[in-house]
């Protein structure tokens, strides 16, 4: 049977790359006696896949992984079983069964929500409430937000305005915009949150929050220094006929 696991990744685990997180889960499942199905063939590997790898340094409340299981308990038991063999900084906070026909989550990913905060012992002009409010209003009113996209081979000017679905400087307005019910605990833990945004994600347009932040800094006339900001992923969504549905509920059985 197919299942989708939602987990958080915080603290020092921000420095573990997604391939190592994959290996970490493989071992955790063996420790917890969870029977994951294996692929057929000469070198069988466990059937597990991530929705969208999180960049090194970013934290998250909502990472998703699809797995195929030989057998399973009810979701609450599964969550407890897995968490009993995990460290404190990668925790499972959701488990749902999927329809057998469910598409892999990575292929239906459409958007992600992020919080951007100023790290402890760092400062940014964007942390000034009035400053950011005014700049953000003007920034988002632009018809076009053009950035220079550099690849190994070429440089290209791209308009990212259309890929910013929602953006706000406070959680209250942001919740109104997205209509999503967030787990507030990690939001409250963020040292100095300054920005909330919902951005296009997935195989069509994958807009990284760093890019939006850099564009806002440039627009506001302040220097962008990536080490000042902590970026935290809040949720991932799938596109269901034009409507965004949290990944944990998409094609749920």
């Amino acid at each position: 049977m197919k299942a989708r696991i939602k987990f958080s990744k915080t603290g020092s685990m921000r420095f573990i790359g997604h391939l190592d997180v994959m290996r970490y889960f493989q071992k955790a499942f063996l420790r917890a006696d969870i029977k994951v199905s294996y692929s057929q063939g000469f070198s069988p590997h466990p059937l597990m896949s991530f929705t969208s790898p999180l960049g090194i340094g970013l934290s998250s409340d909502a990472e998703y992984m699809d797995i195929t299981l030989e057998e399973s308990d009810i979701p609450s038991v599964m969550i407890d079983k897995i968490n009993s063999v995990m460290n404190d900084e990668i925790r499972v906070n959701g488990f749902s069964f999927l329809k057998d026909t469910a598409k892999p989550s990575m292929s239906v990913l459409a958007a992600c929500d992020y919080i951007i905060a100023v790290k402890p012992e760092h400062t940014s002009q964007l942390a000034n409430k009035e400053f950011i409010k005014k700049r953000l209003d003007d920034f988002i009113k632009q018809d076009k937000i053009e950035i220079l996209k550099k690849t190994k081979k070429s440089e290209k000017i791209t308009d990212i305005r259309g890929s910013i679905y929602h953006i706000s400087d406070n959680i209250k307005d942001f919740v109104k915009m997205t209509g999503h019910d967030y787990d507030k605990s990690s939001i409250n833990e963020m040292c100095l949150p300054i920005l909330y945004c919902q951005l296009s994600a997935g195989s069509v347009v994958n807009l990284k929050p760093e890019v939006v932040l850099e564009a806002l800094c440039n627009y506001s006339g302040i220097e962008y220094n990536s080490s000042v900001y902590q970026i935290h992923r809040l949720e991932m969504y799938a596109d269901a006929d034009g409507q965004l549905i949290p990944m944990s509920h998409y094609e749920e059985n």
């Binding site: 915080t10 603290g11 020092s12 685990m13 921000r14 420095f15 573990i16 790359g17 190592d20 290996r23 970490y24 493989q26 071992k27 955790a28 499942f29 063996l30 420790r31 294996y38 000469f42 070198s43 069988p44 090194i56 340094g57 063999v85 460290n87 900084e89 790290k119 080490s227 902590q230």
Partner: protein, 621 residues
């Protein structure tokens, strides 16, 4: 949330930040304030290498069993972080608490190979601990060394407060108790060193006076305080089934070199190969009981989530109950997709049966370690493996579907002639010829033979400790000769030849049988910028040569001489059980090409029987 010693900014700017954050599965968490002794265990090489070492896992578990001790870990920061730590004055920290190593009571460094010696200085330097033991104060930890290179600690004697000679399971608790006694007494540093020196197995270099003859050899080596013994006796774990072994080994987040459960099935070896130090210093062979191994295999796999287990020993085929153990493992874990790795296995019917069941024959290769190319030379080194056994083993394997063979040899063995060198090429070719005697339709494509040579380095506590080592020019000449001979063989196209770097081997040779005069050279090399010498990309031969010149020390003295029978060696103060007389007799046997039977065939009277354990008390058939 754990507070890390390095800022996000630094962690994001270096390679593999996971090397420095700790927090691994099964890491022991204690409050440093609640313990009497903080012990920092160090492997002086990069994290992925250090995390693969079984010895540290055993001691980590053993120390942390005690509530009054918190044992943490540290590894060598890779050069990218090293330069940042120097630039920003960041003190080296332990992974668990992320607190400075300098604040610990002990820094224990495992000495696994000579080429890590400059890394020891890096560790001390980054920690802010004085490099020379004599310059340390009560504000510094006691620096203690152990492991195979501690059996000749003299080249690094200046940097250590003490060495522990023997197996870690036995004497550390005693040392810790003495330390607590000393700490509450408020006596000075030297007093603790004296207390330590009185514990069997502990060697405190500064309590010994060394004098030299005019030719540079040792004249006298004498203790200067009452507590220091004239001879330090190796400490041996007598019962391998009633001792410490981790139930919950640490599991790193990044892939370590040895990324699996390691089960040490026995310690020591019965074979008595004359070049092998491990075969002498770990005598006598002591197997662990089948019950112990089954129980630990189960618990460790469950506690780590690894999908592979490796059976570790110097010669697994000499473990009497190996078939029972392996078939049990295969049966017990057959539903869990657990791989079983069996290194150090002689290729015989059992080995091939097991291998065909646990490995994908098409992908795996067979490994033989004849060590020498001719039977004459194998008799010289007492490697009891005949050409017939190799060819039969290879043939059985070929019929079983294998077509890849790895062969390991040494160049520069004592008394080696060019015929012996050519023998390596000939033996490689014979194995290939064996393959082509199989009818074409039964063959599995072409045979693929990889022949590797390393350069023989004479080690202390072996019968070859008297022998001269080849110069690097000779080694290079033999290598080129061998390559030309490989190319002359009928199946030259099926044989790939790899060789080892002569520059590194030469230095290994110097340090292996070195004395205290080398301490200043190693320190100078470190100051010249040498570090990570075991890594080809960082090894810098010229800087080493400069250091030897600077300190006026002649490398030739250590590697070129054939030593006299009665020469006093820098390591003679250590008693490993095996006597110097026995080793010299074996040296003479090697010259006479006489083979000595293994411990289970016939006791050779090496001296290890004084420990009264293992094979020495086993019933012989």
């Amino acid at each position: 949330m754990r507070k890390l010693a390095l800022s996000d900014e630094i962690l994001l700017s270096i390679e593999k930040p996971a090397r420095y954050i700790g927090g691994e599965i099964n890491m022991v968490v204690k409050n440093p304030k609640d313990v009497a002794i903080r012990f920092c265990m160090c492997f002086p090489d990069v994290y992925e290498i250090g995390m693969s070492h079984l010895g540290i896992q055993i001691l980590y578990d053993m120390f942390n069993k005690r509530d009054d001790i918190y044992c943490e870990r540290v590894y060598s920061p890779w050069p990218d972080l090293d330069s940042i730590m120097r630039r920003d004055n960041i003190p080296l920290f332990a992974l668990e608490s992320q607190q400075p190593v300098k604040d610990f009571d002990f820094l224990g460094i495992t000495l696994q190979y000579e080429m890590c010696y400059t890394n020891i200085l890096q560790i001390l330097d980054l920690s802010g601990i004085a490099l020379n033991a004599k310059d340390r104060t009560n504000a510094d930890p006691f620096v203690i060394g152990g492991g195979p290179c501690a059996y000749n600690p003299e080249p690094i004697a200046d940097f250590f407060d003490m060495f522990y000679i023997g197996e870690g399971e036995t004497a550390y608790y005693k040392l810790m108790d003495k330390y607590k006694e000393w700490k509450s007494s408020e006596k000075d540093r030297l007093d603790f060193l004296k207390m330590a020196a009185a514990i069997p197995g502990i060697y405190v270099p500064q309590f010994y006076n060394v004098s030299y003859n005019e030719d540079g050899t040792l004249k006298e080596f004498n203790p200067t305080v009452y507590e220091a013994a004239k001879t330090v006796v190796k400490q041996v774990e007598l019962d391998m089934s009633e001792t410490y072994y981790p139930q919950k080994p640490l599991v790193p987040y990044i892939k370590a070199t040895q990324d699996r459960v390691v089960l040490e099935i026995q310690r020591g070896c019965i074979r008595g190969c004359r070049f092998c130090q491990a075969g002498m210093i770990y005598r006598p062979i002591r197997p662990r009981s089948l019950d112990f191994l089954k129980k630990h295999a189960k618990t460790m796999l469950k506690a780590t989530g690894y999908n592979e287990i490796t059976l570790s020993s110097l010669s697994s085929s000499d473990y009497k109950e190996l078939p029972e153990l392996v078939y049990w493992l295969m049966d017990e874990f057959k539903d869990k997709k657990i791989n079983i790795a069996l290194p150090s296995l002689r290729i015989d019917a059992f080995a091939l049966d097991v291998m065909s069941k646990i490995q994908d024959v098409r992908k795996s290769s067979l490994t033989f370690a004849p060590e020498a190319g001719t039977q004459r030379m194998r008799n010289v080194i007492n490697k009891g493996l005949s050409e017939e056994e190799i060819l039969n083993g290879a043939m059985d394997a070929f019929l079983g579907g294998w077509n890849r063979v790895k062969l390991y040899f040494m160049l520069g063995l004592p008394g080696e002639t060019y015929d012996d060198v050519e023998g390596i090429a000939i033996l490689s070719d014979k194995i290939a010829r064996e393959y082509y005697t199989i009818p074409k339709e039964k063959r599995n494509g072409r045979v693929n033979i990889v022949t590797s040579t390393s350069i023989f380095v004479p080690k202390p506590f072996t019968p070859f400790q008297w022998a001269p080592m080849d110069t690097k020019e000779e080694a290079a000449k033999k290598r080129d000769f061998l390559l030309s001979k490989v190319r002359e063989q009928l199946n030259a196209r099926s044989i790939k030849y790899n060789c080892h770097d002569e520059d590194v081997s030469e230095l290994e040779g110097v340090f292996a049988r070195g004395d205290r005069k080398l301490c200043s050279v190693i320190r100078q090399a470190y100051e010249n910028g040498c570090m990570f010498d075991a890594w080809t990309e960082y090894f810098c031969y010229d800087k080493w040569i400069d250091a030897f010149k600077d300190k006026n020390v002649d490398m030739e003295f250590y590697i070129r001489r054939e030593r006299e029978e009665d020469e006093i060696f820098p390591w003679d103060f250590i008693d490993i059980g095996v006597t110097k007389e026995f080793m010299f007799k074996e040296y003479l046997n090697s010259k006479a090409e006489i083979v000595t039977p293994n411990c289970r065939e016939k006791c050779a009277g090496c001296g290890a029987a004084k420990f009264n354990c293992g094979v020495c008390v086993e019933k012989r058939n």
